[in-house]
């Protein structure tokens, strides 16, 4: 209670003398879907961010680092909401103390806040967006990525490898386990279409036969009719570009109940326990493979292993797959702030943005990596996972 009073007093003081607080403290905010089934994943990511800030004692030099955890989802959608994401970006721009924006989780949401934050010159670091078009030309829409950079400068960075790589990893793995005919589905969202497209391109290159493609309705009650069509097409693999939130669990179930004897490969949007919960472990065992741009947190090495141990100690639970990316985003931003501070500069939007862009050979929990000229990580580690006894189990690590 005392704590609360103190905080209220602090907030009041802050509002009376904004100039003073702006000089003494800077704010990092995150915009992630906190309402909906991604919540377990995003809670874990927020925990990662908090850990990174706690590790520097919540201070860089004299500047206090404040952190706010914002939600970009709404209960009606149970998923990210374009209107809420736009509000979050506007809120960040309006608050002069915000110097860094961690987010988003969904690539579709990033499309909304990227141009806004670009104009305002706030650095945005995503722990989870994998749609290739956000940063790379020629892999998404014709006007991407220029449309997200109205000022022509790069302010958007990400610590996860992109879908063009992920789709290819999945196709290669399919070939490796002896798949001949694939049916490719997507959820008609930015992320799902992107990764399914990348899978399709690679599958053609390496000679897998594509017996059909379709986009499914994420709100549909079941996919039994669609599964029948896939069965008729004779596919021995279904690739679904989608997430738990776009009904990957139901699809996995209907493949089993429709008597389709095919494997299922899904991308990292399903690499969360909610997917196992939704599909039921039985429908996934030995049948479903999940690609992920990283490795099981338990298999992290070096600083990553330290992260895993500290996380378990602090939160009494295993981190979800993306927690370490939340942590890494915050670490990269804090390191940039530290460099600004050491060089005698003032920590503000411009200086932090410039320094984050210069991140090179960063020794983090994900290994040693840099941001390339597009703002993408140079990290290229992928893992292929399956589900055994109700838990994710890694079957292959691709460097």
């Amino acid at each position: 209670m005392k704590n609360l009073l103190a905080r209220v007093a602090l907030a009041l003081a802050g509002s009376v003398t904004p100039a003073l607080s702006a000089a003494d403290s800077v704010k990092i905010v995150s915009s992630l879907p906190r309402t909906g089934s991604a919540n377990a994943q995003t809670t874990s990511m927020v925990n990662g961010i908090k850990m990174a800030i706690a590790e520097v004692g919540g201070k860089i030099g004299d500047a206090t680092i404040l952190y706010e955890d914002w939600d970009d989802a709404s209960p009606q959608r149970g998923n990210w909401d374009p209107a809420v994401e736009a509000q979050n970006a506007d809120k960040a721009i309006a608050d002069a103390t915000v110097v860094a924006y961690i987010g988003t989780y969904n690539s579709g949401a990033a499309k909304i806040s990227m141009p806004k934050l670009n104009t305002a010159g706030i650095v945005m670091v995503s722990p989870a967006n994998t749609a290739s078009g956000l940063t790379k030309a020629g892999l998404g829409e014709a006007n991407e990525p220029a449309v997200y950079r109205p000022t022509g400068k790069i302010n958007y960075f990400r610590v996860v490898p992109t879908d063009d790589v992920q789709g290819a990893v999945a196709a290669d793995y399919a070939k490796e386990i002896g798949i001949k005919k694939v049916f490719i589905l997507n959820d008609r969202e930015v992320y799902g279409k992107g990764v399914a497209g990348a899978f399709e391109n690679r599958a053609r290159e390496i000679g897998l036969e594509i017996v059909g493609t379709d986009g499914l309705d994420a709100k549909s009650s079941n996919y039994k009719s669609l599964v029948t069509k896939i069965k008729q097409a004779g596919a021995d693999l279904v690739y679904f570009g989608g997430t738990t939130q776009t009904n990957a669990g139901q699809l996995a179930k209907d493949i089993v109940s429709g008597g389709l004897k095919a494997k299922l490969i899904v991308p990292d949007g399903c690499y969360e326990n909610a997917f196992i919960e939704a599909a039921g472990a039985k429908a996934l065992q030995d049948r479903c493979f999940i690609t992920f741009g990283g490795v099981d947190p338990k298999l992290l090495k070096g600083k990553g292993a330290e992260f895993y141990e500290n996380y378990k100690k602090a939160y009494k639970a295993d981190p979800e797959g993306y927690a370490v990316y939340g942590y890494e985003c915050a670490k990269a931003i804090l390191a940039a702030m530290d460099r600004v501070q050491k060089a005698g500069g003032k920590i503000d939007r411009a200086s932090v943005l410039a320094e984050v862009g210069k991140t090179k050979d960063f020794q983090g929990a994900l290994g040693t990596w840099s941001f390339d000229e597009n703002g993408d990580t140079t990290n290229r580690i992928f893992s292929v996972n399956t589900v055994k006894n109700g838990e994710f189990a890694t079957v292959k690590v691709v460097q």
Binding site: N39, G215, D217, K219, L226, T228, G249, K253, S257
Partner: protein
């Protein structure tokens, strides 16, 4: 799979999905027929029925009753019927309570006020389901992520009744949908056509003022309508849960949308219309998934709806009614 097998399979799926839609659609059409209110909260009452069913299954100890070795014997049919009754009664009374608390005071208010109230109730119920899916569900072993879709255990044996080698799949759950839905529909029709209360319903639907003048207790008729509509919605939620093996706080949204469309397609206010509309939508969905493309299915469904309404504005079985002033 041969073309015939594919077609047969899609007919089975279309009918099963359609029957569930039809049960929900009855709730919309009955309430509309009596009080001229589109009860947007109906889909969410349906959602809560599913949550109750999963909670009951969890409380009974899913592991004990759902031993794979005994799957399919008579105790599971008893459990299924028990769940249908429990969820049905729960949803029925919930629907009556909503009517008493929210709609009844607004009975004489403009139609738009009632409609907005219904949408409000719908939001409240969605959030209630969201809450229910969290901590309360965790206690009963239904998973712990509040908003995640929840796995509903298989209650009926999952093997193919036509033999494991058959390309066409027919499961007990398909049979159960027919075995439970059809008697419910026959029962409802008999009830409305043969009983005193049913006659009261028909009279109230035609002209509530005249019905009251004839000594019909219209308040009781309205309560009975909400009760029966809710009961059918609750029964449908259990059918949905065993058929899809999933429940989620948003399940009522799509089910409600399909069911409402079915009710309009069949002619809102008409009981046989809602049944036919539901089955038609199920079949159209299945055929569109197969012969057109899944991504176009919603376009096809609503395209058909618009076409029918252009040529028959009151729906397939709807009666031409004079506009009430």
């Amino acid at each position: 799979m041969t073309e015939t097998e594919v077609f047969l399979q899609q007919v089975i799926y279309g009918l099963s999905n359609g029957m569930i839609i039809a049960l929900v659609a009855l709730g919309y059409t009955m309430v509309y027929g009596i009080v001229e209110l589109i009860n947007f909260a109906h889909g969410d009452v349906f959602t809560l029925g599913g949550f109750l069913a999963l909670t009951v299954v969890g409380a009974l100890g899913a592991a004990a009753i759902l031993d794979p070795n005994t799957l399919g014997d008579s105790s599971h049919w008893m459990l299924l019927v028990g769940l249908v009754l429990t969820a049905g009664v729960f949803c029925g009374f919930l629907n009556v309570a909503i009517d008493k608390v929210v709609y009844k005071p607004l009975r004489r208010a403009p139609k738009l006020t009632q409609l907005v109230a219904a949408i409000g109730v719908s939001f409240i119920l969605v959030n209630l389901a969201l809450f229910w899916g969290g901590a309360p569900m965790e206690v009963f072993g239904g998973g712990n992520a509040a908003a995640a879709s929840k796995d509903f255990p298989e209650i009926l044996e999952g093997s193919n009744l036509l033999g494991e080698d058959s390309n066409v799949v027919l499961r007990l759950e398909d049979v159960a949908i027919f075995a439970i839905t059809i008697p419910l529909m026959i029962g409802l029709t008999l009830f409305v056509n043969r009983t005193r209360l049913g006659r009261g319903m028909r009279a109230t639907a035609q002209n509530p003022v005249a019905a009251r003048l004839m000594g019909i207790n219209t308040d009781r008729v309205i309560s009975a309508t909400f009760l029966i509509g809710g009961f059918l919605g609750g029964a449908a939620s259990v059918m949905w849960a065993i058929y899809n093996n999933t429940i989620s706080f948003q399940m009522g949204f799509r089910a409600g949308m399909d069911a409402f469309t079915a009710a309009v397609l069949g002619g809102i206010g008409s009981l046989p219309g809602a049944m036919i509309g539901g089955v038609l939508i199920g079949l159209i969905r299945a055929m569109s998934d197969q012969y057109i493309e899944t991504r176009w299915t919603n376009v096809v469904v609503f395209g058909v709806l618009i076409l029918i309404l252009v040529f028959r504005p009151s729906g397939l079985l709807g009666l031409k009614q004079r506009e009430k002033v």
